[in-house]
Structure formats: C-alpha cells, structure tokens
Symmetry: C2
Subunit: 605 residues, 2 copies
C-alpha cells in the first residue's frame, strides 16, 4: 500500500496544477483511451493519486474535497486504502449516495470549471456530465491530462510488437473484410468509418498485440473510407513484417499519435460535402466525440465490424473446435487432479489456479490466460469476480464447493469455461442449487429456435429452474467470445431484462455464446456451470429456418452435486447425452486412471 | 353481390367528382375515424365502390386505372367479386407486387395530387405516403370525402345510446382515473392529452356504447388538460342520465363533430406557450395529425390510458373471474353437446356456432359475442380468421378436429377461449400436434418470472414444443383482453419477434393475457388451445419480486387428442392439475350426465 503521506502529497501537487490550469474540479476515471476492459499501469492515474488499487473507481478532486466512487466489490478494500488520505468513499448504488453527475451538480458553483482528460472519459459519460451540469453553466476543460505533469516515474505507454495473424489462422483476408465493411457502409450511406474499439481493429486488420492485459490487442485507431483504409499504430509497435503485411493488404499506416490532426485535416471547415462519417458512441472517448461534434456531418451508429467479427468463419470455427477440445482436456484433468489432491495435500485457491494454468501452459498453442483464473472456494465463490491472492486466500478442504472460471488465449481460439467442483461432502441445499444450475445450462444448450431470435427470447430457458425456486442471478446468462481476441465480445448476449435503448442482436450462425447460469449466496457459496456454445443452423421447414446450439466445451458436470430426482426426465437425458459426448471426445487423451474416473463421472443418471 | 354495372357506374361518378375536385388519384381504405377493429356500414366506402366485401382492403382510383390491395385471406373472393369491374387485384405481400406507396410512386407524375379522406387514413400510413411521394412533389388533398357526394343511400353514421357503467362494475371512478392520467401527464411533462382510441375513452369515462360491432364503444374523442376533461359525443348518443353522470364526474361534454374547431381554438397561432399536447400517433387519423402538425408544440407518445386500462382493479378482477367461470361452463357444456350430437344429428360449423352462442345467451349477464364465433372444421381451422357462412359451410362429421374460438361480452367482463375438439377418430399426427400445442399452452401458463419480464421473454415457453418439432405458428401467442370492452387490447402481448421500434410492455399484476399456441396446416386442419391468464404476484425473495399466471378459463382440453407419452412428466402434471381445477370449478353447474362425462374427460393421465 502506498504511504498515506505520499498520497496526500500527490493530491496537493494536483491541486496546485488545477489552480494553475484554472480548473475547479478534476475528475480521474479508471480507463484507457479505448475503454478497454483492463487498464495497463500507464493509465492507473486514479490509483496513483488515491492509493486505491481496485479495478474500478473514479476520483473527483476540488481544492476542498476529494471523493472516490466505487462499487460493492471494493467497499471494504477502498475504506482501508483511503484511510488518512482525506479522500471520502462514495458507495455506488447504495441508497442516498449521489452518483458523480448528481454530486457535481450539488457541489459546483455556477460558472465553475470541470477538468478531466477527455481521452479517458467515454463520450457517453461525458454527455451525462454535460446534461447534468448544463444548468450551472459549467465549463469543461477536457484537453489536458493534469496528472501527467506530477507523475514523475509514470510507467511507459503500452507498446507491444504488432504481430500479423498467420495466414492459415485468418478467417478472411484484410481485403475481404474491408469489402464487407464497405458494403455495410454503403448500405448505411456513410462514406467514412472511424473505429476506436481495439478488438474490432485487430479483427479487421488481422493483427494481434499485447497492449492490454488478457486482450491480445494493440493501441490503435482505424479510419475507413470508400477507397482507403488507415490504421494508426505506434512506431514502436511496427516492424518490417507488419509494414509489408499491411502494404500488401492496401492499408495505410499512420502514427497512433497523429489521429487528432488526421481527423482535423479530414474535417476542414469548408469541406463538409464529402459525405457522412460514422462512429460508435459507445466506444469513443469524449475527446474524439468533441472533434466529431465540432466538425459536422457525422452519424452515430454501430460499427459493422462488431457483427462481422462476431460471426466466425468456417476456418475460424475449425480452429476454435480443436482448441476448445484441448482446453476441455486440460480442465477435465484439473478436475480429476483437484478432487483427488485435496484429500492428500494442502491446497489453496491460488495453488489450484496455478495448477490449472500450468495444465493449459502445456498445450503447444497456449499464449496466456484469457482473464485472471477465478478459483473461489465456498463463500468466495459468491463473489462473481473474485481473484485469489497468493498471500491471502482460502485453503481448500475436502468438502464443499470450489468454483473455477478460467480460459486461455491460444493460437486458434479464446476459451472460457466454468465448473463448480464438489471437493467432498456437499449439503442437500448445495445439491439442489447445483442441479437447478445444471438443468438451466442444459436447457439453453438444447434450445431449438426460429432464426430471428435474440438472447432475450432464450434467457428464460437457462434461468427457469432457478426462477421456479424463487431464485435468480444478478447478471446476464451469456456473452459472445472472441477468436484469439477478447473473451467478452458483442453484440450478441443472453439476458432477459428489457432496456429499450439497447439494441438486441439476432443469433447468427457462427456466433459463439456462453451459457452460464449460477447461484450466488453471499457468505455461503457460489455455483456456476458454463459452456461455450456455437450457433448453428438447424432444420429448415415450411415454417422457417430453425437455429440450435452445439457445445464447444466438453468437461464433466460434477455428478457428486447432482440430484437426478430433481431433474426432469428430459434434462436427465440431456445431461446423459452431454456426458456421453464428453467421454467420447476427452477420454482418448487421458491416462488410464483419469479415463477410468471419467467413465465413472460421466455415467448416465 | 352488387351488380358489376352498378360498380362501374359508381367508379365513373367518383372519377367525375375527382376531376371536379382536381384530384388525380383517390385512395379509399377500410377504416373508421378511430382505426377500429371493425368497420360499420357507414364506413364501407371501399365496398360501396368496388363490390369487394372482405374485411380488409384499400382501393386506389385514377382516371385510367383502379386497383384493390388485399391480403391472402381474400385473394379468391376478391378475384371473383372484382371481375368485370375494371378493378385490378393486387395481392399484398406476394413477390413482385408493389405496395400502395410504391405503386403510387411508380405511377403518379410529378406534381399530381393524391386525394383521400384524411379522417379514415391513419397518421402512420399517411406519413408513409408522404415519405414515398415527397420526391415527386405530390400534393395531398385530404380534407374531403369524395365518395360521400355520390353515395345516395349511405347508411347512417353509427350513433348508439351512451350508457354509464353501473357504479358497482366500475373499477374506479372517472375522477380517480383522471387523477392517475394527470399524474402520468405530469411525469411526461405534457399539459394536454388528446385521445382518439375508443376503448381508452370508454375506460376513462366509464361509458359504453354500441357504435362498433363487437366493441362496446361510442364514437368519441377526449381531451384532458391539467384542470379540465372533455368528452366529444354525438348529440344522438346523449340522454339525461349520461349528462348527469358526466357532470358529476366533472367532465365537459362537447359535440363529437366539434372536435376540429375545438382543437383549432386550442391552438391559436399566437398561443404556443401553453404547454405541450400529447397524442398517440398509432391511433390518430392523418387529418388529426395534420392539425397537430400545423399548430406547434405537440409530442407523440403512448397515452397513459392504455397501460392504466390494461391493469385491472380488484373490483374488475372479481367480476372477471365470475364471468369467466360462467363462460367456461357454457363452453364446457357445448363441448359435451357437440361431441355427442355429432354422432346423432347432422351438424354444420354454423349450427354448432349457433348452439354455442345460444348457451352464452342463457347467461343473464350476456350482452353479445365479443367477436364472430369461429367454428372451423378440419381444413377451415387452418385459416386463422375463418367465419362460417350459414349458407355455405362445412358439415361436421364424427371424426377429425373442430376448432372453436369464441367469446362473450358480459356485464362483468369480456371473454375469449379456444378449444379444438376431436369429433371422433383423429390421426396420430393430429394427436402429436394437439399434444404439442397443449404442452406449450400449459408451459406458458405455469411460468414463474421476475417482475420486469415482457411477453418476449416468455413466448418460447408456449412455442417451444412446436419449435422442437421444427414447426411454428405465424402469429403472436397472446394479447391483452378488455373489461367489458374490446377483446384485443394492448399494450402487453406474448410474441417472440424483435422489432426495435415497437416498445414492449412489462407484465404487470392485474393484466390479462391470452395464451394461444396453435398448429395451422393449410388444406388439412387447424389446432388452437387458448386460455386467458391473469398476471399475479408470486413469491418475493431476496432476488426480487416474482410473477406468475393464474388461469381464468376452465374448460377441458380434449384428452381424445392427447398423447400422454409425448408429454414430459412435468407437462402431464400441469395438465392434470389444470383438469382437476376444471372439474372442481365447473362440475357443480352441470347436469348429472355432463358431470359424469366431465369427470371422465378431466381424469389424470
């Protein structure tokens, strides 16, 4: 933990910088220029200023006050880390706690100024601030990063080597993808497309990098016109092969840091007639938004890259199926190991996760984990994003439930799988909940549905067994998964709640989607069973084209926690069918002892 | 059928009127001033001009051409009725057939004029015409009804007596309803609300009438401000009791025909600062829309009356439950009768429907049917809106399936129920389909779901058994039902298809919704099983407020067409539970013979 004196010193320096810049309030979120899921050290200004190390939180500073907003996952940790810093904790979504726009509206005086680095604030949040503060005529100072000047030993800006995806792994060439993107641009009557979402850019240009933890992406921007395509990359990322490869694809390379002057040149005052530029307001920073907003004929929309990326090609699917098999073998071996080892040696959540990571590490195509492995024993499993700390984590006992949610980045795919493992005796209640979760997972996986359905049509299949018991989980049932890219991907999802402003994506053949219902009982235990499913065409009848899922994950569901008599005949049949496939696909790759065990744990019930 | 010479003569007269009015093309839809579901004789201009008697269709006339657009239900009939009239038939939604806006765009010359009576064209369709014809600078002449001048013996404008709903049957007083409406107006920041939807008006003012077939409504408009409420009624509808009743409720009565001058007075050019007026574009005629469009600060939105009307009060629900019981007894007696009588006497679809109507007629509270009784044998059942004709309908045999969809208007409620009845032997395939339909109906009926769900979350429960067989029905699964009002009511519905522009309504406690999956095999047979469900609160747990349904309909589902072995154990249990309730609730009101039969046909399977 950073010394509290150091934190107070940093806040003093920032306040001096604010006075010099004429800024009354300064806001520091936790984000990079691309609203990535993970933030690299360079972007951890909020942690640098406050000492709070959680993954989410926003700091607001004035000459008199300082407040940090974070969510329920971090209340205890933030309380401790903020002590003696002079920073007040604002518990997000607790009753009576104002959110940041409300708080600013209550505290700022008319005509004051609000500063922030517009590159790390999303356009969406910036607009919320504008709306909340318009009546008070607050001036926005968004062009400067005031923290940079006081952060002496700031880590370097992330800049990994740009790697071209090997040709045989590419679903399609850059030229083919650009043709599809341009076709969609034409349909939408836009003549230029600005892209700032990093995984969309990696997909489009068949590049990969390592600038964001767990996400194999490069800091970049893209700009596509009817005739030209530009990618903006850091000079340090480039090497000869990338240059050759981009040149062959007819893509212009520009410097990452030249995006603003490039756009300003594209939008000169007198040249508004060159057509409409489209950008996705969900993925654009406030700074970019202000450029567009100043310069005219723009349209907000969903970048066509999002849907195109989500629909995997046959080439991609062939690699994905192979990699999911290898990944499933590793997870199956891990379950065999942990169920035996927990009786013989002392294990912790962390050491179990390490063992699983090492099994994945043995797969030749393995590049790294796709997110921090969640290994959560009993009550820790009730926290959806728990990450075991080597120095302070739970010891595993030969009883109760261990929830393991993990995935890998491989040459050939990105995986995501969760199994909850009975380490020994489990209670009747745990079994009831485990059985309901397994039934829900299987029912969604078995769905047959007409083409045109979205995740909202199907969510009740996964949630039904829990809803029948008056229970629910407070998250979606499923998300898309990238191909050698981010483990969380849109536009498809499986959720139930109706939000009119959020468009729904039809489930298309070739999409991947996770199927992960769960039970989370605070202070007790957590259960989640997650398979990744591939969307496939089913029968085509006089009534239309039907769709269905095929599982990509083949890992046993722990029968030690299943109550077959609590399942419907149909769900039992689905479980037996799934376990039959697991045995058939995985057993050839196991030791004799593992194989014998797998036969037993995939028996029909 | 009207003599073809007469039709040609009428078209000539209209063309003369068009020339005199300077109108190049004239459009005649099938609608009244309020876009009601049924059109009374006064409004049948399209039939008067074309001789085509179907319930849906639009005629377009120029000096050279005449075309009628109608849908698949009427292709054969329209072909016959239009013969020798000079009117071409345009088969809607057939490939290569332009719709009306497209056709007009192709055929009209730049600067020509299109005439129609703006009062019978919906704002939505009028705007589509505007969009399609804007490039050709077509002038719209919408203020005149050119047919009126040539229709000598035109039927009278519908004008039934306005009846106040007896106090004990009112869910709430007019004053209470106005308070709720004004609260919603305030939330939406509108200071005036214009209402043209007839059932909303009847609900709000606790009035009923008989101006539209099957819908107990009055031709009327409503105008609500923060302080005043106006209802616009025909002088002929009024009588002393209505006047007293409206006066007591603090409602101003104005003449129905004075709505336009009233609105024009409300919107004088210089008085735009009196706040925003809201109207529902889905229910407003093009003529009204043009008034609003001319005069300024208006907002399009959903009238709060729609949702308030849909959520039934406890008073209403108590009456509804009683009436549904009586209605269920009548339908159960009908099933007993038809299954026996078909073996002994010669029956037709029409005579069966007459018998059912007569059973309903024996209920003291009965006022009329809520829609034309559908009695459809075998292949006629595959037509969703079939209406048997006394002079030409199918004879019933002691075999196959009879689909009967019917409902009543009662003092105390509006009903809607469908049963498909095995009149004797039915094939294995019919049984398979019947069983899937029954399973789907029961699954939706048994759903437990979190508050916040809409029909799109639940539709797959009803459709699932058919989707699993690669089958579907081409309509929604369910709609709302009025209270002593229209049998089709919004805003709730059970459907699956995603249409971004159509807002979804959350299922609220006290709503009614139909649950009516089906199988429709053209030329073979139709199957539909329909219950009306009441939305109720279920358990409230740590995870939220759960909702569930309770059936209002208690009529046996024909076990002669059920294959219990094709149902899941759970579906069988649901069927047995439902049949247990049917026997318990209905048997006390039956003869000994009927009772004995009911016990047999509601036995557990």
């Amino acid at each position: 933990m950073t010394d509290k004196k150091v934190i107070r010193q940093r806040l003093r320096m920032l306040r001096t910088a604010m006075r010099e810049a004429g800024v009354d309030y300064y806001l520091v979120p936790t984000a990079d220029f691309h609203n990535s899921e993970y933030v690299s050290s360079y972007f951890k200004e909020r942690e640098f200023l406050s000492g709070f190390t959680g993954s989410a939180g926003t700091l607001v500073i004035s000459q008199e006050e300082a407040g940090l907003w974070t969510d329920g996952r971090y209340f205890v940790q933030a309380q401790r880390e903020l002590e003696d810093t002079g920073i007040s904790l604002y518990r997000q979504q607790e009753e009576g706690v104002p959110d940041i726009p409300e708080w600013l509206c209550q505290n700022m005086w008319e005509g004051q100024s609000l500063g922030f680095d517009g590159r790390v604030v999303t356009a969406e949040f910036g607009r919320r601030l504008e709306t909340a503060l318009s009546e008070k005529r607050i001036r926005f100072v968004w062009e400067r990063d005031l923290v940079d000047s006081i952060w002496q030993d700031r880590p370097a800006f992330p800049c990994s080597r740009a790697e071209a995806v090997p040709a045989e792994y590419c679903g399609e060439s850059v030229a083919q993808k650009l043709e599809k993107v341009r076709k969609k641009m034409k349909e939408n009557r836009v003549s230029a497309l600005f892209i700032s979402k990093l995984d969309d850019l990696m997909w489009l240009f068949n590049l990969r990098g390592n600038d964001v933890a767990f996400n194999p992406v490069l800091m970049s921007y893209g700009f596509i016109t009817e005739t030209d395509a530009y990618i903006f990359l850091q000079a340090g990322s480039l090497h000869k092969e990338t240059l050759v490869c981009m040149r062959e694809a007819g893509v212009w390379i520009r410097d990452y840091w030249s995006i603003v002057p490039f756009l300003q040149e594209y939008f000169p005052a007198g040249r508004r007639n060159q057509g409409i530029l489209m950008y996705d307001v969900r993925n654009v920073s406030y700074a970019m938004y202000r450029i567009f907003w100043n310069y005219g004929s723009c349209r907000e929309g969903v970048s066509p890259t999002e849907l195109l990326k989500a629909v995997k090609t046959e080439t991609e699917l062939a690699f994905i199926r192979k990699i999911y098999l290898k990944d499933s073998i590793a997870v199956t071996k891990f379950i065999y190991w942990v169920k035996h080892a927990v009786k013989e040696q002392s294990l912790t959540e962390y050491s179990a996760a390490e063992y699983l990571d090492s099994l994945r590490g043995g797969i030749p195509e393995f590049l790294g984990v796709s997110f921090p492995t969640i290994s959560a024993y009993m009550e820790n499993g009730a926290m959806m994003h728990y990450e075991a700390d080597a120095s302070a984590c739970a010891a595993l006992e030969a009883a109760g439930l261990l929830l393991v949610d993990s995935g890998g980045q491989y040459l050939g795919g990105t995986t995501d799988v969760t199994r909850t493992i009975a380490l020994g005796d489990v209670t009747q209640e745990m079994k009831e909940h485990f059985t309901a979760v397994a039934s829900g997972m299987l029912r969604l996986s078995e769905a047959k549905f007409l083409y045109g359905c979205t995740g909202r049509n199907l969510d009740i299949l996964a949630r039904g067994p829990l809803w029948d018991m008056g229970m629910d989980y407070k998250c979606g049932t499923g998300h898309g998964v990238g191909y050698m890219l981010n483990v969380h991907e849109g536009p498809q999802s499986i959720r139930w709640r109706y939000v009119r402003s959020v468009p729904e994506a039809v489930l298309e053949e070739g999409m991947l989607v996770t199927d992960e219902p769960g039970v989370y009982l605070e202070g007790q235990y957590g259960i989640r069973t997650e398979n990744v499913l591939e969307v496939k065409q089913g029968v085509r009848s006089a009534d239309g084209q039907f769709m269905e899922f095929a599982p990509l994950t083949f890992v046993p569901i722990d029968l030690d926690a299943i109550l077959p008599e609590r399942m419907t005949q149909r769900d039992r049949e689905a479980l037996n069918r799934y376990h039959g496939m697991v045995y058939e696909k995985i057993s050839p790759y196991l030791t004799e002892a593992e194989k014998e065990w797998l036969e037993e744990v995939t028996r029909a019930v």
